[in-house]
Symmetry: C2
Subunit: 465 residues, 2 copies
């Protein structure tokens, strides 16, 4: 299974100003134990819906059942969703299928192409729908929204449903699968009226914790990803996270992140996979970390304005972009490398250019060896500049390990919430923007917000240059 | 042309603790003027190679000439490059061609598909080469490296050249265009020996400033991008940047960024386009900003450890991911929105679901209106939380405006270098990682580094969990 390696975040390696010492850990050991106990109690009391997902065979089987029904003959799967209803889907696909997946022929691929429309960019939507064109007849639409009223997903859905209706006639509803609230809400009602197959967005699981629910499972299964192994990996990690903090990867990961941000001046947490396939897991992590931990108030309601800023980077690519800053800029980052021991594929540099001294060392080298050497070299160079790093090691990239990684970070987020004394499951700051959007779009009942926002709608030419 | 709107970064809107007041500007006005003068002098003295690029019709015409030669019959263009030899190419393609470009049929697209291999990820390389398969016969390879010894690009090149040689026989050299040093170096020599067409990586332009040189121009032209307009837009921006700091967009952008990071506690600079097409410009910006400004020493050699951290985000998508943190977390960010007035395409929500109150307001709305309303709503919500934001307005997304944007940020980077009193054109911290990679790969002459790195190569099981 995946493992955490944290020696290069220690005072022993990068010095006590920037690295974690035994004393730092001892100082918060009681709080860490309390956090571990609190989260375990919440989980055991059934309050943390996401912790139940690895064992929800009913969700899994429903996703598999619908996959069996919809996959034959399906050339394209179009997912409408945003935030937690898109980032997990995209991350699973990127991690567990080739980067060229959508470019392969229908036959080579086996499953449908996958398009996740996670923005209301008009060019993106139009280009995608134009591309589908006549293939709409063999396209399955999976619309994901708990309420059905998220502006982005709702507007896309209105467009695509109408397009399908026009192209396919009464048959259109047989191309749509809705993932939504089990009992109520706008999308639930439309699905019932039109007669779509449905899956459940669990009541007790927030969007950013929902990838292992039907939200993430259906598109993954449709694209040939082994969702049983995904859930098994998550369950295995759940077991690994049951120990005392110092003996479980989530406890240690929370300890390191928390000490880095509070005691070592590291408010920025960089996730840097040395693998293109794992790169978009960093986008999923960005939402989980930012939306869960960026909070103005603690549990008692006092203003705190806390939260580390998650940043994504890619090795080796960002060695030629960000590492200059990471090594020589302010020492304000904790970097988490993701490393793959056995890559999904490999190839060897041929034995050519033997007469060119500067290239000799590359002859016959495996590319995976070069990639992992660059990671180690960067880790070493960072340590020489007293920059702490942690590595999460993937023995290989498979569904089980990705499931384990997801669960590891979800559970770590819960622990971080306890340590920071904030609620990691709400997102109050998102509301005002939503209401302001309603006001600007003329939705009824938002006239007061519309008045407040009015000054912002006019460009003040004194500040235009 | 593109314009900067900075009212929502002012003290008037977000308060004087976080916003920029007239006093803040006055306090550094002399330094800003000195920076503007210094950079102008350097440019006039011919020391800033990138400032000459918009007028280099020779580079442009060479790229166009080779495009005319290679584009007919070319189905796929494979670019090998990393860092400054890839990020600009990728950004131009994403900005000025549809997201679905590579998925379109050869006929619909007109030009070749574009693949930029900017990493030594074995799965990425293998998957891409497998995908090309028989199309290698109609593939053009553009290898970009000044020296030819960048490990990533060199190893890829050795692989792909050999593959082409095997598949195409003696004809292989007619599929390769090398962009490299004009007179010397490993790639220059190989190109001469094998007989490739070549273009120049200018001597006086660093990688991250090279997108408007042949490095970026050839792949753009091959994919149908109007590189004349691109350069014209850059030249127009160069003219706009000639005024005193308060009357030119680069001067004002530098002033805002500098004050935000030094006087307002904002070391993180978030670039957040409300447009998928402009999203990858943020990756190009990340390199420019981080590698230029993240420096341990000032010009006099004293330790300073400065540099803002560039972060990329995407509207509206990241409203559902990062904005919770941006509004409620520590007030440590300056956000730069990119806004598009007229999107490349548009579509309208149909007049459906009239009976559902929660969706009524979306009926008949243009998607572009919704997207831009969400941007304004976020700007408003950020202001309510005293978070400063700046907007760069694109009247539309075209080559001229993208060229202007590129030049704006390059020139702003030069000004920031002056203000921070560091050299924005070097990257000393990248060297150690390169040398460590050589050592780990067994390159001759690096035995001493190999000895130093040895302890890092062994996993210490006490820190593995």
């Amino acid at each position: 299974m995946i493992q955490l390696y944290w020696k290069n975040a220690t005072a022993e390696v990068v010095g006590s100003e920037h690295g974690i010492s035994q004393g730092d850990l001892t100082a918060i050991s009681d709080r860490l134990s309390a956090a571990v106990d609190a989260v375990r109690s919440q989980a055991e009391a059934g309050q943390l819906g996401y912790t139940k997902l690895p064992a929800r065979t009913d969700y899994r089987d429903r996703a598999l059942q619908l996959t069996e029904k919809y996959r034959p003959g399906c050339t394209d799967l179009l997912v409408l969703g945003i935030g937690g209803s898109a980032l997990g889907n995209i991350a699973l696909q990127a991690a567990l299928n080739p980067a060229t997946y959508n470019l392969q022929s229908d036959r080579a691929r086996g499953g449908p192409r996958l398009f996740v429309l996670d923005n209301v960019d008009p060019a993106l939507i139009k280009d995608t729908l134009d591309l589908l064109g006549r293939r709409l007849k063999t396209t399955v639409l999976n619309v994901i929204s708990k309420s059905g009223e998220t502006a982005e997903t709702a507007s896309q859905f209105m467009i695509v449903r109408e397009l399908l209706r026009k192209r396919l006639g009464d048959d259109f509803a047989r191309h749509i699968v809705a993932t939504t609230d089990a009992n109520k809400g706008t999308l639930h009602d439309i699905a019932a009226q039109d007669g779509y197959d449905t899956m459940v967005v669990p009541d007790d699981v927030g969007g950013r914790f929902s990838v292992l629910s039907p939200v993430g499972l259906f598109s993954a299964a449709m694209c040939g990803i082994d969702i049983k192994a995904l859930l098994d990996g998550a369950r295995e990690m759940a077991d690994a996270c049951k120990g005392p903090w110092s003996a479980n990867p989530a406890g240690m990961l929370a300890a390191i992140n928390y000490i880095a941000m509070t005691a070592k001046g590291k408010p920025m947490h960089v996730m840097m996979p040395y693998s293109n396939r794992l790169y978009l897991l960093a986008d999923w992590y960005r939402q989980l970390w930012a939306e869960s931990l960026g909070k103005a108030h603690n549990k008692a309601g006092a203003e705190v304005f806390v939260g580390p800023t998650p940043i994504k980077a890619l090795g080796t690519t960002d060695q030629h972009s960000q590492v200059q800053l990471y090594r020589e800029g302010p020492n304000d980052k904790l970097t988490i490398f993701l490393e793959v021991e056995k890559h999904p594929k490999d190839l060897r540099v041929p034995d050519v250019f033997g007469e060119i001294p500067g290239l000799t060392y590359l002859r016959k080298a495996r590319i995976s060896k070069l990639l992992n050497a660059e990671k180690l070299a960067t880790e070493y160079a960072m340590a020489q500049s007293k920059r702490p790093t942690v590595t999460i090691r993937f023995p290989e990239i498979n569904a089980a390990n990705v499931g384990a990684f997801i669960y590891l970070y979800e559970y770590t987020t819960s622990l971080m919430g306890e340590l920071l004394d904030i609620d990691p499951y709400d997102q109050p700051a998102v509301e005002l923007g939503k209401r302001a959007t309603f006001a600007l779009m003329g939705r009824e009942g938002y006239a007061d917000v519309a008045r407040q926002i009015k000054p912002f709608t006019k460009i003040d030419r004194n500040y235009l240059i």
